[in-house]
Symmetry: C2
Subunit: 317 residues, 2 copies
């Protein structure tokens, strides 16, 4: 993987040099399992130069959740009112979809905060886009990424670059990528969460977009079933490209007899004729890029390399 | 569980006494794992008095599927053309959703066959209802139910009674059932397959219906997420009742801290205020009733017992 960066303002939202230096940490999904992991993540972020403030309920717990629904809703109210520009999830898990009907979308839109998270947080990323058009970020979480015993340096560096608006082009190896050179709205995240929004008011209606997906612990037949639902719902066929992140922690069985993730993707390609770009370093993996959800980007492939162009000078599409 | 039966014609489709005696067995989903299990299932059905004919590709195999998509599509063409009135799936698994856009719905509707299956087959049950209005059946499969080393006698008896149109009322223990006395279209099946159809042309648009659901190997938070999607998509709130079948083969974790299936259902009840009737003997369990999907039924609860009335004399709803 390589990346082109420049010391310039973000293509997404203009922020001053100071503005991107503060992170407010929230727990909108499952409860933080180990406080020491969160603490280690905070220390890493501080070493990177970020000012970090923990929401007061960041360690709250109610059953499997990081507090009751009311508590987790109040988290967003506080996140909007506080001063730091970045709001990062402590972790994923489950819980955001319960909150969606009750969030104050106007306040979230007006806040201009940069919300960052992954997995369950995909539901928030996409609902925010659907309800307000505000760009937010698929990227690392405090516990999983910054709090890991051994951190993936590229994950943390790219997060910093994207927050500072320095990342112009993200390039990654993509064997067997379909030839493409296009522009569109980048959207996606965790596939199970994307499909969990189909038919609801929280699913963005995006045509000519660039959809990226990843998942964990889902057998390829379930990945196929989810992508097939997106196809049959008329969503996948309206996108210009499908970018595949990591699909990890599943087990093939003897009775699969050669059926695997490639077979699933081949079926989807035959079904909707969409260009597919594998190899995005994003998923439930230590290596993960930070990507703007809802931003216009360019995507091109050549010689086994794919490029995502996060550039403010893209023409209107 | 108890049931009231009568020697009368089906409330669903009128068949002669002879007509209900033949079963054509097909494999539209995953490949049959063991031929001897299928054979044992056929023998049990024959002992019950059914004439049984195996589709020629019932043991076909392509990767994890019971043949290629073309092969499995041709199965339905043959099932429609042959003479026997009942078409039963050999097993579930995965594969039906791949076929849905290519099925000949007019031929299926005109056939008047009684299609029976479960799990992956739910996608066919519901798509058939959406596309044609034809009633089909959630019920046993050849391998899982009739081919089991030890068969659940009630499962096989009730299947026979429903096929003969003898079953009038199905009653089952339902502790903590909400009070209800209503009528509506009965629909549902496997929850993962129901949600996999949301947003597609294969999802029936049913208002005032009675939805029954079951699933296997899904943690309660995933069951909740699926039911919540049905709620947020405006589907669950339009139903008169939610009937819960079996939810089996999942493991709660220490970090669930008391969150369980009851907690999930309580959340859903708070969200959509729908009467919930637990305890339906249907699911990935040896004991399973056979239910008409798309038929008008009555549902009532009293004193810890729920009744599903499969009666042709129900008034128009």
């Amino acid at each position: 993987m390589s990346r082109s960066t420049a010391l310039k303002k973000s293509p997404i939202q203009s922020v001053s040099n100071a503005d991107h230096k503060g992170i407010y940490i929230v727990s909108p999904s499952s409860a933080v399992a180990e406080e020491k992991v969160l603490t280690r993540g905070v220390q890493r972020l501080e070493k990177m130069g970020f000012k970090v403030v923990l929401d007061r309920d960041v360690l709250a717990r109610d059953q499997r959740f990081a507090g009751t629904d009311s508590q987790r809703l109040a988290v967003f109210d506080r996140a909007v009112k506080q001063k730091l520009p970045i709001v990062m999830a402590s972790r994923g898990g489950y819980g955001v979809t319960r909150l969606l009907p009750h969030l104050n979308w106007a306040a979230l839109a007006n806040s201009g905060k940069r919300f960052v998270g992954q997995s369950d947080f995909t539901a928030f990323n996409l609902a925010l886009l659907a309800k307000t058009g505000l760009v937010s970020y698929a990227g690392p979480t405090v516990c999983y990424d910054f709090g890991a015993a051994k951190t993936e340096i590229l994950t943390t560096e790219i997060f910093g670059e994207v927050m500072r608006g320095e990342l112009e082009i993200l390039s990654f190896e993509s064997e067997k990528a379909d030839p493409i050179d296009c522009r569109g709205i980048l959207w996606g995240g965790n596939l199970a969460m994307i499909t969990a929004l189909i038919g609801t008011p929280f699913m963005p209606k995006i045509k000519g977009g660039i959809l990226f997906v990843e998942d964990v612990g889902e057998h390829p037949y379930r990945v196929e079933r989810m992508l097939n639902q997106l196809a049959q719902a008329g969503i996948l066929g309206k996108q210009k490209a499908l970018i595949l992140g990591g699909f990890t922690e599943y087990k093939l069985a003897e009775h699969d007899r050669g059926y695997d993730l490639n077979a699933a993707i081949e079926f989807i390609k035959q079904t909707v004729k969409i260009p597919v770009i594998p190899g995005l370093p994003y998923g439930h993996t230590p290596m993960k890029v930070t990507l703007p959800i809802g931003a216009k980007v360019g995507v091109a492939t050549e010689d086994g390399i794919a490029h995502i162009v996060l550039d403010e000078h893209l023409d209107e599409m």
